[in-house]
Amino acid sequence: MIKMGGRDTDIVLLDENGIRSDGRKINETRKVSITAGVLKNANGSAYIEFGENKILVGVYGPRDVHPKHLSDSDTGILRCRYHMAPFSVGERKNPAPSRREIEISKVIKEALEPAVMLKEFPRTAVDVFMEVLQADGGTRCAALTGASVALADAGIPMRDLVAGCAAGKAADTVILDVNNEEDQAGQADLPIGYMPNLEKITLLQLDGVLTPDEYKKCIEIGIDGCKQVYEIQKKALQDKYFSKGDND
């Protein structure tokens, strides 16, 4: 019996030429495209496609805090809601927030907090709403990536952007940017959120088994993936704010 650690599957996750089920090389991310400023009402917004993931992010604030007792006289607060649309996955998802979504909202909030200069806005809240319209593995990294761009688009002062990308293990090989198939049938998934200028990891989770060496390798290539994603984030902001009129 072949024991790969993941679920039994007929899919070939990695062929003899080192090509993955969706045609990528082991250290290649999916195609990422980001558009900043896609919503009219939100103070900042972004639409991100991360492979087959499609996620819309809206930012409101700094604004009054309701309920009021949550407000803090020393600092602004960041609130994040990660939510999956019922039609975003194969079988309809119950629209009520699941425990998984509550946890992801929390880890994304804690991944963004180091980047956002909340002390500038005491007694206010900045609300980040991430709506997953279509999910295909790696939604938390994609949502985090989009959220950073939306926060920047809202003009919230930030120390850095946070870029997200997962590393993992499938077919006994360390791979970059785990897709849904690889997550289901693979051996490990290690999502990373990274601030490229401050060189700090602000989101990190893992499920699956990694040896200490594989763990190091995953963090290394994951950070590398985040740096690639960061370039696309910057481009999205440049496209919106600098490309019209003059081209420098």
């Binding site: 650690g5 006289s73 020393d74 425990r99 998984r100 509550i102 946890e103 909202s105 929390k106 880890v107 804690e110 907090e113 180091p114 290690l190 601030m195 401050l198 060189e199 700090k200 990891i201 602000t202 989101l203 990190l204 989770q205 893992l206 499920d207 699956g208 088994v209 990694l210 040896t211 200490p212 763990y215 190091k216 963090i219 290394e220 950070i223």
Partner: protein, 272 residues
């Protein structure tokens, strides 16, 4: 609210001053875990149980084992569900009611450590494929909160499952019937152990107590298995870690975790 923030700031200053001299407020070394005692079999009506006391943090974990209808996509595997709740007797700040995000996270991190380590060989917990499987439910009740609930729940859960007994069933007319007083050992393949570290300033400390927990900048929980591999991980808190921090934290977790694994093994010696 206002005054407690000032106290937290003063506390943080004091903790940081001590850390500069390599000391902690309770006298421990930076990589020293509080005293851990584990008693198994404390709830005879549960098929497995453990009380873990980590310093002044205490958790009671109970395992219930019962036949279940399998999930449609995993008819060839048993069922495993771990939960955690913080009881109102555990701390002045605990409120009753539906769990907030921190408690949801605690329960999910506890579950993930056990599940992802494949501690239990789920294929051995099938009564009849696609019809009936054995469900293992491990529920954690935090009874005393002095920080680092993640690790206390991890140790209690691992010890409770490791020392549990699986009732025997026979299939009669497509339904599982329990055979009284006959038990199997649980199909244990590895013992997952989490180690939580807090980052305070530039210092990394192991097993933060309540005071350290309340002022830390960020935390990381790393779960390792008996082979010394990393099986689950959770970062939390309002700051980040450098790449070097993460490598160092994994090394600490493997080293400290293996000592804790010995305590867990010791606690259930003689049971199975």
């Amino acid at each position: 609210m206002g005054s407690s923030k000032i106290i937290d700031q003063l506390k943080k200053n004091q903790i940081l001053e001590l850390l500069k001299e390599g000391k902690r407020i309770d006298g421990r070394a930076l990589d020293e875990v509080r005293e851990l005692t584990i008693d198994v079999g404390v709830i005879p009506k549960a098929e497995g149980s453990a009380r873990a006391r980590l310093g002044d943090t205490e958790v009671v974990a109970g395992v219930k084992v019962q036949p279940e209808r399998p999930f449609p996509d995993t008819g060839d595997q048993g069922m495993l569900i771990c939960t955690a709740e913080i009881l109102p007797i555990a701390h002045n700040d605990v409120e009753t009611g539906p769990p907030g995000p921190p408690v949801v996270e605690l329960a999910r991190v506890t579950d993930r450590g056990i599940r992802e380590s494949k501690m239990l060989d789920m294929k051995q917990l099938v009564l009849e494929k696609n019809k009936s499987v054995i469900g293992v439910f491990c529920d954690n009740a935090v009874t005393d909160h002095d920080g680092n609930l993640f690790d206390a729940c991890s140790y209690a859960t691992t010890a409770a499952i490791n020392s549990c007994k699986i009732p025997k069933y026979e299939m009669k007319d497509d339904a599982p019937v329990k055979i009284e007083n006959e038990f199997d050992k649980p199909p244990i393949s590895t013992l997952p152990v989490s180690v939580t570290m807090a980052k305070i300033g530039d210092y990394i400390i192991v097993d933060p107590n309540f005071d350290e927990w309340s002022i830390m900048d960020a935390r990381i929980t790393i779960t390792t298995n008996s082979d010394g591999n990393v099986v689950a991980l959770q970062k939390g808190g309002q700051d980040g870690f450098t790449q070097d921090n993460l490598i160092k934290c994994a090394e600490i977790s493997i080293r400290v975790g293996s000592k804790i694994r010995d305590i867990i093994k010791e606690s259930s010696s003689g049971v199975n």
